[in-house]
């Protein structure tokens, strides 16, 4: 069978280029310029799909994104699902399959559902949710629903891209109205962005045989495109769908196959000064019994297949219409030599101008289609006149036109309003909310002469018919072909009380899915209006939401995949870490950090134990570069710091530092860190890694909005200083081996102070803080020197057995000391007193952030969860972090939770921290961790397991 339905000439296809493709495993041929749908019709493939719910045989209905029936899955390099066959450009080697059917649409097992259709009414899903048990239905419904499967593999070559664009004028649609608007703006020198979803410009002119000033209209289109191409200020894209209209005139465009490098699809985010919506109109279906038979097609689509693709999808045609546009279709078909058996027109009086187009044809006015015969293809149409007379007309194609809907999706997405126009029987753009205008058919100008001077087209003249309503009607009449929603489903929804149009949509699923009801929604609204006896304006439309047509996830994500899916940050030591076998983690604020450094044959715990032992008994070093660091300058820094820290900071003298807590005004602990006074007016604030950005924001907000007169200037220096923190009893030895001009003796360089000097020949600031509880020297250098410094530390430390320390060991070391970790011990319920840090709550200061709220909270005298240490009675028993503590381990409300539990090398046992009700007064008692099937007794202690007096870190 080779393209029996193809005309010998005509159409915008290249007959010299034959393309081979397969559909449901069978091989066919088409031509360059075909869509999958036009090629299937050319080959007279009538049954192309099975329906979603009842698995009824379906054919191709439309010719563009409105196609409700034929959805396909593409295989191989094109792998994608749920593509309307009408929007799949044919290419050589294309392989496509119908969705919803197995093994083929011709013979489909699921077709048995048709026999059960009375058991799958509107609201079926909701009802099964409620009774008897959704899980009984779920597996079979999941299998039956869902349409196509997601491709198993991403495309093996090529990539997606997303980019930004800006325009004075964005024009959506390159039909006659869009081209005219683009030309006008382009000639005025404006930056124009013209995007059209079709493969070539022209819009409706591609599909019909119209003229402008006596010349073929496509000649006008080609001249317009040529002129636009010559304008440097115009970007003109085809295969580019404007699918979203967001706030402040941001529109999103999906461009397919942009013919640039290996780009598969490109997403454009376009910010436009003004938007011209020239998206045309979509023909709507008629609703009558068995209106879903293969061979029942939209009249304009039949016209398009003939004019654009040289395909005539039937030999004997009946047309059914309520307006004049179908007469032009009939005229084209007659000219092509097709037998038009009859035109059935629901209007009582057919305009003379329409009749003149089809002088030889039988036109039956006041007549509707009552039924269609032919399970797998139209065989005959039942014509029923208003007087009740019936005649069956044999035919193989029924072309119908229920009128035209201006494509108002983008208009409506912009939140601009719609009104129902009685003359056009359609919803039209009304009041714009953003800077946009609708033109052409999208604005209700449904004929060419209204858009272009010199254009000629038959007047529209519709009398709406929302559904054929005959006594004793049998057979389903579909409002939404894709979701198998029939008139009876809408009636059922209304009977059951779902009478708002949005409720009707949810309850029946009418207007959902891939096509979003482009051909049928208006009939649902009309049916609701008829049933309720109200005008359509009162029923209104459902909300138009993006996307206008389906968009691939790839285009939305653009380049963001694999390694750049999330941002990441490196320090100059990252490469060394990777080279030395570190297991790298994301560790807050996007930093990639070493978790631990396993040596040959070591597991995580072995490596952590080795690293911890080095710090406790010898020396270790870690890369502390990610700590947030800010330099503050100005006369008012002291009073500012006193306001944002809970303890007294302003009394610091130059060269010294202090640990402090920052609270929010409702008493939440925001962060902890160390403040240094560099000199009279310069201060250095360090924050935890994860909170650097939020603390910067917090400080700037206070200064700019609360205290604009205070002289405080903040500069982020996190990346101006990197540091290698050398810690452990041998730290001083390593420092000496590195060589420094700073006197390191504790008498002249005590804990919580800093000195500027050189280390290993690099300018450095040495800071004596400790996050491990051991003697520590934080050697800060400029990042340009960090990698070299690190190498020298490793070299100088080698004789002392220095070990690089990862974040796992840092966690163990701080738990042994009971040092806080925000997110572990600190959440929104915990205050400084609970943590045993009441000393950090200044009594002297009359006001600081959080003071009043903590006071208020404390006055309540409610029992508090307080920080304690826990020692599992079984030394070798680890307690999971986050495990609840309950009174006596009984199944009762929790009295606390375990915040951390680590293997302590110095104690040779598991130790932990917990927040426990009245914990401070319960030291020495036994508490109980309650797991699902086990209770673990733990002894309550002070939250410190190593060097409780802090002698080592001061040494």
């Amino acid at each position: 069978m080779t393209q029996n339905n193809r005309c010998a000439s005509g159409g915008r296809i290249d007959r010299s280029r034959t393309l081979r493709f397969t559909f449901n495993g069978k091989s066919y041929e088409g031509f360059e310029g075909d869509t999958l749908a036009s090629a299937l019709l050319a080959n007279d493939v009538r049954v192309t799909a099975r329906s979603f719910k009842y698995h009824r045989p379906r054919g191709i209905v439309g010719h563009g994104p409105e196609e409700p029936a034929t959805l396909v899955e593409l295989d191989g390099e094109d792998a994608s699902g749920n593509r309307p066959a009408t929007t799949v450009p044919l290419r050589d080697g294309l392989s496509a399959r119908s969705v919803n059917c197995w093994p083929s649409p011709e013979f489909d097992i699921g077709g048995v559902n048709q026999l059960l259709s009375r058991f799958i009414p509107a609201g079926f899903y909701y009802k099964t949710f409620k009774w008897p048990n959704w899980h009984l239905f779920e597996p079979s419904i999941r299998k039956a629903a869902g349409l196509a499967a997601a491709p198993a593999q991403p495309p093996s070559s090529g990539h997606f891209e997303a980019r930004h664009a800006h325009a004075d004028v964005l024009v959506a649609g390159a039909g006659p109205a869009g081209l005219k608007a683009a030309l006008k703006a382009g000639r005025a020198g404006k930056r124009v962005f013209l995007a059209d979803e079709d493969s070539e410009a022209g819009g409706s002119l591609l599909n019909c045989d119209l003229s402008i000033d006596g010349q073929p209209a496509m000649g006008w289109v080609e001249a317009a495109v040529l002129e636009l191409r010559g304008m440097a200020n115009v970007t003109h894209l085809q295969n580019a769908t404007v699918w979203a209209y967001r706030e402040h005139n941001l529109l999103i465009v999906n461009e397919r196959n942009p013919d640039q490098g290996s780009i598969i699809e490109r997403s454009w985010r376009v910010r436009a000064g003004e938007v011209v919506i020239a998206t045309g109109a979509t023909e709507r279906a008629m609703v009558f019994s068995n209106n879903d038979r293969p061979g029942v097609m939209l009249a304009s689509s039949v016209q398009a297949y003939f004019n654009r693709w040289g395909v005539i999808p039937g030999k004997r045609v009946v047309l059914f219409t309520n307006n004049n546009s179908a007469y032009a279709v009939a005229s084209d078909l007659i000219a092509a030599g097709v037998r038009v058996e009859a035109i059935l027109d629901s209007r009582s009086c057919v305009p003379q101008a329409a009749l003149e187009l089809v002088p030889e044809i039988t036109v039956q006015s006041s007549t509707v289609v009552g039924d269609v015969r032919g399970h797998k293809g139209v065989k005959a149409v039942k014509a029923v006149s208003s007087s009740g007379s019936v005649n069956w007309i044999e035919c193989d194609l029924l072309a119908h036109s229920g009128g035209w809907n201006p494509t108002v999706h983008l208009w409506s997405q912009s939140r601009s309003t719609l009104r129902f126009d009685e003359d056009l029987a359609a919803f039209l753009p009304y009041q714009p909310v953003q800077n946009c205008t609708a033109v052409g058919a999208a604005a209700g100008q449904l004929t060419l002469d209204q858009i272009i001077d010199g254009g000629e087209e038959l007047a529209y003249e519709i009398e709406p018919l929302w559904r054929v309503d005959l006594p004793g009607q049998r057979g389903k009449a579909f409002l939404d072909i894709q979701n198998d929603v029939s008139v009876s489903d809408v009636h059922l929804a209304l009977r059951e009380g779902y009478d708002n149009v949005e409720h009707v949509k949810r309850y029946t699923t009418g207007g959902m899915g891939i096509d979003q009801g482009k051909t049928g929604n208006i009939n649902i609204i009309g049916t609701v209006a008829m049933q309720k006896g109200v005008p359509l304006q009162e029923v209104g439309t459902t909300t138009f939401r993006s996307p206008y047509t389906p968009v691939s996830f790839g285009a939305i994500g653009g380049l963001r995949e694999d390694s750049v899916l999330f941002p990441y940050r490196h320090t100059p030591v990252t490469q060394w870490n990777k080279d030395n076998g570190a297991v790298m983690y994301e560790a807050g604020a996007r930093w990639r950090r070493p978790g631990y450094f396993p040596q040959q044959g070591e597991g995580l715990q072995d490596a952590v134990n080795r690293e911890c032992r080095a710090v406790r008994e010898g020396v270790g070093v870690y890369d502390g570069s990610p700590l947030g660091t800010f330099e503050l300058k100005g006369r008012d820094v002291p009073q500012f710091l006193d306001f944002i820290y809970s303890n007294m900071v302003s009394s610091l003298t130059p060269g010294n530092g202090r640990y402090g807590l920052m609270l929010s005004d409702d008493g939440l602990i925001l962060d902890d860190g160390v403040v240094f006074r560099l000199d009279e007016h310069r201060w250095l604030v360090s924050t935890s890694t994860g909170h650097a950005d939020s603390i910067n924001q917090h400080m700037e907000k206070l200064l700019q909005t609360e205290f604009p007169d205070w002289q405080v200037m903040i500069t982020t220096v996190t990346s101006q200083w990197n540091n290698a923190t050398i810690c452990g009893p041998r730290a001083r030895d390593v420092m000496q081996a590195l060589g420094t001009d700073v006197d390191l003796s504790p008498e002249v360089f005590p804990f919580m102070s800093f000195r500027d000097g050189t280390v290993a020949g690099f300018p450095a600031r040495i800071v004596r803080v400790s996050f491990t509880g051991e003697l520590s020297f934080e050697v800060n250098v400029a990042p340009r020197h960090m990698a070299e410094l690190w190498a020298k530390v490793i070299e100088a430390g080698a004789p002392f057995g220095i070990q690089p320390v990862g974040s796992e060991s840092s966690h163990v070391l701080r738990v042994e000391k009971g040092f806080l970790s925000l997110g572990h011990e600190v959440d929104g319920t915990v205050d400084a007193y609970d943590l045993g840090m009441g000393w950090a709550m200044s009594k002297k200061k009359t006001d600081y952030l959080g003071k009043r709220s903590i006071q208020l909270r404390r006055e309540g005298k409610a029992t508090r969860r307080e920080l304690v240490g826990i020692l599992p009675e079984d030394h070798n028993r680890q307690v999971p972090e986050g495990a609840p503590l309950t009174p006596g381990g009984r199944k009762e409300a929790t009295e606390g939770l375990v915040t951390a539990c680590v293997w302590s090398v110095v104690n040779d046992r598991w130790v932990g921290l917990a927040l426990l009700k009245n914990g401070h007064s319960r030291h020495g008692e036994i508490a109980h961790v309650r797991l699902k099937d086990e209770v673990i007794p733990v002894k309550i202690t002070k939250p410190v397991f190593h060097d409780p007096d802090g002698k080592l870190l001061r040494s």
């Binding site: 907000k701 609360e706 003071k851």
Partner: protein
């Protein structure tokens, strides 16, 4: 994706900003208000249907804390509403 006017940079994409909340009452002197007044200050933020004054931090821009009036129904950035409304 809104366009937010920054007094230093002009209109910029919302993605350059971090939301800083609605502008509520000025912070009272914590030592001269009663408990109820303090809690009211902390917990009651404006949440109107219509123009609301709010702050945005130009984090990926000039670091300015920007104060705007935004209509919560439309996302329109509006002039300060007059009190007669």
């Amino acid at each position: 994706m809104m366009l937010i006017p920054c007094p230093f940079c002009g209109k910029r994409n919302e993605s350059e900003f971090i939301f800083g909340g609605a502008v509520g009452a000025d912070r009272p002197d914590p030592n001269s208000v009663n408990d109820a007044e303090w809690v009211e200050y902390l917990t009651v933020a404006p949440n109107p249907l219509g123009p609301v004054q709010e702050r945005w931090w130009h984090a990926r821009g000039c670091s300015e804390w920007v104060t705007i009036w935004r209509d919560t129904r439309t996302h329109d950035i509006v002039e300060a509403p007059d009190d007669s409304e």
